[in-house]
Symmetry: C2
Subunit: 164 residues, 2 copies
DNA sequence: ACCAACTGCTTGCATGTACCAACCATACCG
DNA sequence: CGGTATGGTTGGTACATGCAAGCAGTTGGT
């Protein structure tokens, strides 16, 4: 048997775990060391702005689900974004407890600038990569994120709730 | 390659930026939702333990450089690890201001357990991946980390410094 | 030998991110 | 209706991180 395949997979998993550990720790600084927009949007808020922009008006709960964060965390960040005039909070016609979050014009502007800046950093980091590697990396990252999303989701199968 | 190449590269960069944003935010939870060791080693401390284990006794400054973190951050985490009996602080013969950090037996044990657990999660996440994809992902992640390392380092050589 | 500048590390303080628990308001169901 | 479930906010807490200030030891110039 050419054990290289299976053994290589093991080695890869170990390597991936290590690199992810490092990446998650280091990558947070990229945002902070950025240019002018770093004072405008917090790192966490950027994700919210981007997702809100890309998927239209959402409720806080939907954001929490997307990022797999506690509702309270989102609540505070949303409050901060609203305070900063980057998003608005419209009443939800369907459910008066809830609200719909929408980017303001200002929010859109700031997001565009911040996003351009971040993409610039990423582009610079990857400037020497081949198109194949870029495409591959994008694809594999997306696949990994999808798996992570799955993993973090409350899987109804193997979940045993204790009786209240 | 056809004209798709250049355009694909742009799309890839945008996609990569998005996926990284998501990944960095979500991946932190993996550690926290772990099993029994989650109470033993903080997320940040795990990286320190692992690096210490893999590269032998180090000084705090070396750790700070490796993770691109402030020395004070490392100082606190090291103090906490020492407190927990996972590492020891030996005087450095070369420089009496400094010290050398070394894993204790207990630290090694805990690291091994935590690492196994984390690798298990990663392995599970990647269980359906082909060996080629695994190897590729490991390679590309490592390459990206190397670029990130470069980017974060005050490397006077290959970067245009906006010097006053 | 001495003082000044530097370096390695620690401490004090501020901020951002996150969770859980407790809570309020509305929705839904019997 | 009343009881429970759901969406969201607020209080309290813990961890991660950076900057500024400080202390101790090192180094270099005279």
């Amino acid at each position: 048997m050419q054990a290289v395949g299976a053994q290589g997979a093991l080695v890869s998993v170990e390597s991936i775990e290590e690199e992810l550990t490092l990446l998650v720790r280091r990558a947070q600084k990229v945002h902070l060391r950025g240019g002018p927009t770093e004072h405008v949007v917090e790192r966490a808020a950027y994700g919210i702005l981007a997702w809100l922009h890309d998927t239209g008006p959402l409720r806080p709960g939907a954001l929490a689900a997307h990022f797999h964060l506690d509702a309270s965390t989102i609540s505070r960040q949303v409050a901060s974004l609203e305070q900063a005039g980057l998003i608005t909070r419209e009443p939800d016609a369907e459910d008066r407890r809830a609200c719909r979050l929408r980017l303001t014009e200002h929010g859109r502007t700031v997001l565009t600038a911040t996003r351009a800046e971040r993409r610039g950093v990423v582009r610079e980091l990857l400037q020497s990569w081949s198109p194949e590697d870029l495409a591959n990396f994008a694809f594999l990252l997306a696949a990994f994120n999808a798996g992570l999303d799955d993993h973090l989701s409350p899987n109804p199968n193997s979940r045993e709730e204790s009786q209240p």
